[in-house]
Amino acid sequence: MKKKLMSIFILLGIVAQFAVLSAVIIRREWTLRYGEVCRFETAPVDPFDAFRGQYVQLDYKVFTRGIVSDKKFNRNNWCYLTLATDTNGFSVVSAITDSKPTSGTFIRSRVSWCYEESIEKPKPDNKYHRENTGKWTVHLELPFSRYYMPEKTAPKAEDAYRHANQRNAGKENMAAARVRVWKGMVVIEDVEINGKPIRECIKDQKEIKP
């Protein structure tokens, strides 16, 4: 009886191993198939942090300075970012909430840290005082900050990505991440430079203007 129970327990454990890994795959496959396409303009990153192993560390202009909110979000809590599209066709955050939106395209992300904004105001004693504005800046742990590449092409991709993100790169060299968003889940589909997939760009290095 004890042996039978142990066998059932082990069997359930093995099923759990496959189920957990399958669940991770299925949710992402569903996102890639049925998710909405969004494009996020990438931002420059510290060159020393740009590559850790065989992946490109992505940073996004829309998230670099944090998202401004009317309310405070606690560290490590989940939040939901409703997305909209700007005039250049890039995705931007239109709202940040702590409850799941009922409509629209949204991303689920964890709060990294949050602080209240303040401004300096002159007082009658002619001294400046800092005053809270009631607005909170929320920084996030983004679930789509790594783009894995094959080890041979990774160094070239790093160069291309870093070059496109140089602060004086100009409009002709723009990098963006194309992601699929489905029910809060985000999966990176590709990284684009000037609208072309990064893999094609590194095949033809001329695409990236010196």
């Binding site: 359930l12 957990v20 795959i25 590449m149």
Partner: protein, 447 residues
């Protein structure tokens, strides 16, 4: 050659020399045949385990190379392959009745690595940015079926190391580290099953050492530390419980490796009490210095209070069990109480000193209470060692006494010359006593 094989060979020569008759030899052979069947070929296990480790790491490296030419669906399927191969090997092994450790130990290693390889490849395929904290947690928790299926040493020790790693990382990001404990308990039945199989085997020693060391370290990691100094009571309770659990369950005839609970409990208690003879641990402790900052989770702090109550009570319970199991006739060194009782009441003494220091009576008095108690323990251990003729206890007793003298001396305002002389005298005394007692014991043995 193992002991049983040696005995079997010797039996043949004993019969030929007429030391034992054939019937007695057969009885002896039958008596040890069972042990021979259960004996483990460690060379095969170690070589097999190294092989499994290398193959497993090779698979991870191959998958990590990120095969861009393979389609996404194929890579997702491929990530299951090592795992599926291990499950197939396990099922085949169970069906064919393979119960050798040289099969299950390497399988456990390879299976454990396959879980990690599967998670890594899926993360690579779908560009998952998951932090190292959740990666370690996923991998560790998915080791549970491997532990129960193979009862192998490496996955079981790896499970506790993984949990401790996760808890340490999680502490920095304000995570709920107390979850270490239910997850640690989840692997306990496997640990007990290994112990039940053979309490004195190398497997039991390695797994118990691994689990006990990780869990001891995890106490410090999982505490919320809102109440300064509470760790003293918690750690003294934990070490006393381990020591007394070792007294009741481990044989005193065994070596240090075979008595992990007693060794960790005893050494831990000695080190903790030694730290507490100084004044600095007693500064700014108790309610008057409560951490009310937002950085601390005040709900999780209840876990600290719970441990501070439960562990000393558990130690008291184990003390009763130990005294029932080992009757008063077994006491040697002390006339009133046994040595383990003297060590086992450490949580009560530490708690008393804590009350003295936290209620602002005197920090000096708190450190003095512990100094006197530890010095008493050193004397008792020395006496017990002399009565039992055990060099280990004699040395431990002397070491505690010398450490206290030097520690106190070092903190004083005396000159370096005086301190240097004190060190030399103490060291010489230690060697002299050691050599005298050793010679005395050897002489007694020969007579």
């Amino acid at each position: 050659m193992n002991n049983v094989k040696y005995l079997m060979q010797e039996l043949k020569s004993w019969i030929s020399e007429g030391i034992v008759d054939a019937e007695t030899a057969n009885k002896i052979a039958a008596r040890y045949a069972h042990a021979e069947m259960k004996s483990v070929a460690w060379s095969r296990i170690i070589l097999g385990s190294i092989g499994a480790l290398l193959v497993g790491l090779g698979v991870i490296a191959l998958l990590a190379a990120n095969w861009d030419d393979i389609p996404r669906a194929a890579r997702a399927t491929l990530s299951f392959m090592p795992l599926a191969a291990c499950v197939a090997a396990y099922i085949m092994g169970v069906q064919k009745g393979w119960n050798s450790r040289s099969f299950f130990e390497p399988l456990g290693i390879f299976w454990g690595l396959s879980v990690g390889a599967g998670i890594s490849l899926i993360a690579q395929t779908y560009h998952i940015s998951g932090d190292p904290e959740s990666f370690v947690l996923y991998w560790t928790l998915l080791l549970l079926p491997v532990i129960y299926a193979t009862q192998a040493v490496v996955p079981l020790v790896g499970y506790y190391v993984g949990l401790l790693t996760w808890a340490s990382m999680s502490q920095f990001s304000n995570g709920i580290t107390v979850l270490y404990w239910p997850w640690a308990i989840a692997a306990m039945p496997a640990l007990l099953a290994i112990r039940k199989d053979n309490p004195f085997s190398i497997r039991t020693g390695l797994t118990t050492w691994g689990a006990a060391l990780c869990s001891t370290a995890a106490i410090g990691v999982t505490l919320e530390k809102t109440m300064p100094g509470l760790w003293m009571i918690i750690y003294s309770g934990a070490f006393a419980t381990l020591l007394l659990a070792g007294i009741t369950s481990e044989s005193k005839e065994n070596n240090i490796f075979q008595t992990p609970l007693r060794t960790i409990g005893g050494c831990g208690s000695a080190i903790l009490l030694y730290l507490l003879i100084f004044k600095w641990p007693w500064d700014e402790i108790g309610w008057n210095h409560y951490h009310a900052d937002i950085e601390y989770n005040h709900i999780l702090a209840y876990f600290d209070y719970l441990l501070a109550c439960v562990l000393p009570v558990l130690a008291a319970f184990m003390l009763i069990v130990a005294n029932r199991k080992r009757p008063a006739s077994a006491w040697k060194g002390l006339p009133i109480i046994s040595l383990w009782t003297a060590w086992g009441i450490a949580p009560v003494v530490v708690a008393s000193a804590y009350i003295v220091a936290s209620s602002l009576i005197s920090v000096f008095l708190a450190s003095m209470i512990i100094t006197i108690y530890l010095a008493g323990l050193g004397l008792c251990t020395l006496a017990e060692g002399l009565f039992r003729r055990t060099m280990l206890l004699v040395n431990a007793g002397i070491l505690i006494l010398i450490a206290i003298i030097l520690g106190r001396f070092f903190c004083s305002d005396l000159s370096f010359t005086a301190k240097g002389i004190a060190f030399i005298v103490s060291g010489s005394l230690f060697f002299l006593v050691n050599s005298y007692v050793g010679r005395y014991l050897r002489k007694e043995e020969t007579t």
